[in-house]
Symmetry: C2
Subunit: 565 residues, 2 copies
Amino acid sequence: MTHLRFALAQIDTCVGDLDGNADKIMHYAHLAAHEGAHVVVFPEMTLTGYPIEDLALRRTFRKAAWDKANWLATELEADGLGDLYVAVGTVGTDHASDKPRNRMVVLHDGMVWAGYDKHFLPNYGVFDEFRIFAAGDRTVVLDIDGVRIGVAICEDIWQDGGPVARLADEHIDVLMTMNGSPYEEGKTHTRYDLAVRRAAEVGAPMIYVNQVGGQDDLVFDGGSFVVDRDGTLLERSPMFMEHLGLFDLDTDAEHQTTGDIADLPDPDEEVYTACVLGLKDYMAKNRFSGVCLGLSGGIDSALVAAMAADACGGHNVHGISMPSMYSSIGSKDDAADLAANIGAHYDVQPIEPMFNVYQGQLKLEGVAAENLQARIRGVIVMAYSNSLGLLAVATGNKSELACGYSTIYGDAVGGYAPIKDLLKTRVWELSRWRNRAAAAGVGIGGLRIVGNENGDAGTPLPGGVMIPVSSIEKAPSAELRPGQKDSDSLPEYELLDKVLAAYIEHAHGRADLLADGFDEKTVDTVMRLVDRAEWKRRQYPLGPKVTALAFGRDRRLPVTNAFRE
Amino acid sequence: MTHLRFALAQIDTCVGDLDGNADKIMHYAHLAAHEGAHVVVFPEMTLTGYPIEDLALRRTFRKAAWDKANWLATELEADGLGDLYVAVGTVGTDHASDKPRNRMVVLHDGMVWAGYDKHFLPNYGVFDEFRIFAAGDRTVVLDIDGVRIGVAICEDIWQDGGPVARLADEHIDVLMTMNGSPYEEGKTHTRYDLAVRRAAEVGAPMIYVNQVGGQDDLVFDGGSFVVDRDGTLLERSPMFMEHLGLFDLDTDAEHQTTGDIADLPDPDEEVYTACVLGLKDYMAKNRFSGVCLGLSGGIDSALVAAMAADACGGHNVHGISMPSMYSSIGSKDDAADLAANIGAHYDVQPIEPMFNVYQGQLKLEGVAAENLQARIRGVIVMAYSNSLGLLAVATGNKSELACGYSTIYGDAVGGYAPIKDLLKTRVWELSRWRNRAAAAGVGIGGLRIVGNENGDAGTPLPGGVMIPVSSIEKAPSAELRPGQKDSDSLPEYELLDKVLAAYIEHAHGRADLLADGFDEKTVDTVMRLVDRAEWKRRQYPLGPKVTALAFGRDRRLPVTNAFRE
């Protein structure tokens, strides 16, 4: 009987940070050795971070990554870990074309062993790999102590045929994969179903190691796992945190032994945690320790402030109330209550004095006057950002952004927009979930997430409430003119969000939407709003992080587009 | 002897505007027939516009394009043009994968004839075609009245091998290509050299029809041409305007007869005209009739205002002088003179009153106070944009943007940035060229460009001067604090621009730059400025149109990037 212990090192890397990533690999290799592992597997492009986009094309960067991989192999041996097999992802070079390759190498005995290059280079949705890399064309079977290990990288297992199909004839004992698979709601089950098919295809257990953490506008959720060739789940690491999972392979056994299976969060907790992790890592990797944002008393800014407090602690959140002549007393109270609940800094900066001076010169009317209010607020938020070194966060949700219910250079100001992918109805659901969690004892910073691997319950919330109930329950309003309500301009959100999902996410045309059962008036209203907003947004770009994801997760559209459905 | 007359229809299309593009195809087909042509060739993706990005993935759009191609074939026949062979580009569908194809079809006898699908799908720099389209795999030789016509689309001729190599064995009489080739300085000669090689390869004359006009952040320069198999230039259409060129093929002749050869503009005229065409078409295709911009009296805003006047007439340009307590009298005079020269609307909006009210509440210092001035100006420019329906244009040049000498949500505000790809030294050169042209009688709107095919000399400039000489000659200053000069923070532009070209455009690392002969202090200063600016710009996105092109024409970089050269 041959027995081999695999460690699944689910870590959070940073693009371009070769030193930091190498140090983390070293740390987890030590942990794995301490647990008696023979092989430790890291996520896709561990050493370079992922996705690295056109940075891979820079020759100086590829040279530095190669040097760092060699340094790492040497250091591992010097630390007494030369016997360990350390599979890391990095960037290689195809010397024929001088193009980069997405590569797995194995560090062992102080050497960097020739690796495996990813075959299938995804080039859809958020992925641009075919643009950057040359495709690999070899299948690789590693032989470690007589165990035959087939390898594959991420997209290689999502496409039929290719390296996995070829491994089916290779009598492998295990399929070992490294992945950088971004979070999408429901993807845990999709990945598991896929792995079951691939394990059956190669007739061996499959190891799936995924990256965890936020990188730019993507969130990687971890959730690494192992499935047996009969589809039995053998191991599952927790989502959203760094983790070292273990899997013992017995090549003679008909069925492998089941190890630790982490619980899955409920759907609202999962999405809320993904948003917080994205913000937290965006701050960490871009060296921000705090955020600033406008607090209107409405639900969007309240939810974003709550997420920010969970990401960096309430004392690093700077909430700015910027009331105008149209702001209700209730809104101002709700903003103050939220700030008090999370322990945020809280300033009041009335905008009426600035508004009056501008209007003395400009005499604006209608929407131009409404936009002026939003833009004065944008200038104030950026003043806090510049003078205190804070990350300005934008508070727009997907329903608003899709319908153009937002002012460029106004409330859209910010370097990161944590809820841009959430429809308004989901904003309410997540707010209610966070309050339920608070009541159940999840304090500020108490989420199970990178940096809280041991499950600290966080800073308790006074009275067990995070988001003021009246912010959740009142009718939404931008408060840019007297008595304004969102429902003056938009259909009710329950209906609007259903139409948006069909029109934007599922690309239904007008005829499809009518066949979906939506009434003609609503369809035409929403299509007109969305088309106009998309056109406006394209005219005055809000920047890739807001537009690319707010308006359909996977669309890259021309600015000029005269086509109408 | 077989004789065939080809018409090269170099036209300006609009993405998504199936109706407008079809009408223009119809118009040029009539012109071609009137000139006795047998075959008329249009640019790549004529009917849909180019580049259409992910719009091609929308099934409703592909259906509409197919219907429109059929309508066009029917209408051509109804108009008595059924005998003409009309080669147009459009989007097709690969029914096996349900992916779009980049397709040439031939309209004849009231029918849409099966076409040719582009083989090589560029996926570098500004191109994303592999993301969108399925590649074609068939070579196509059309037989028209016994003449064998090989066809290819754009990138097919840029790659060795593939369809052109296969055509070498097909004894074709002519190689007919449709192209959507974006403008780059010097590309006229590159294209010609390439065509000479391909014509020799297939042993036949080659027809190169290129798109003309601005589309989003790209400019297509036209300059369609024909070369004989021995490399002789047989026809050349003018750059930057719509044109119907003619080429007579005699299949028995050893050498073909030379037709019209348009002059090439001088290098400064070429770049200036490309910038104006980009702005002009951005306005037209996004339905703006006028622009607004801040006029500081400096050279950047002066050049942009001059370009805007050439694009849409001085009476559609709204210049706003926004002096602060630090603005010199000379600057204010220069701004007023420029506005008067081009006949622009001119308003003075002092920012000191707003600045004082903000500062009463915020008490900012240093860079935060400087940014506040720029952002107050941004709010005012956007107020003009909103209340008058004008396109706000940003005036930053490439040297400033690369070094971070710009304020987000401040002077970077705008939907289009006409000189974002020009280094500062080029800004001065183009300003001097425009004044020389003005002195030589080129009035406002008098450029040879789409819409001015007949060469109208434009509106004469008073005194033959467009840009005030003192704007060109004075030392550059942002005037955000007393006595400030650009040279306080930046190396002299003559040197800076050379380092930027090497570091950004040619991706030279630190060691390369030292080997280039730049001194260590300058190299380190510029690298630090550029890296910091790129990081800041990625943190707070300025939007794709400013970032993507300002910072190297072909780079797509991650937001988070800890790598340092």
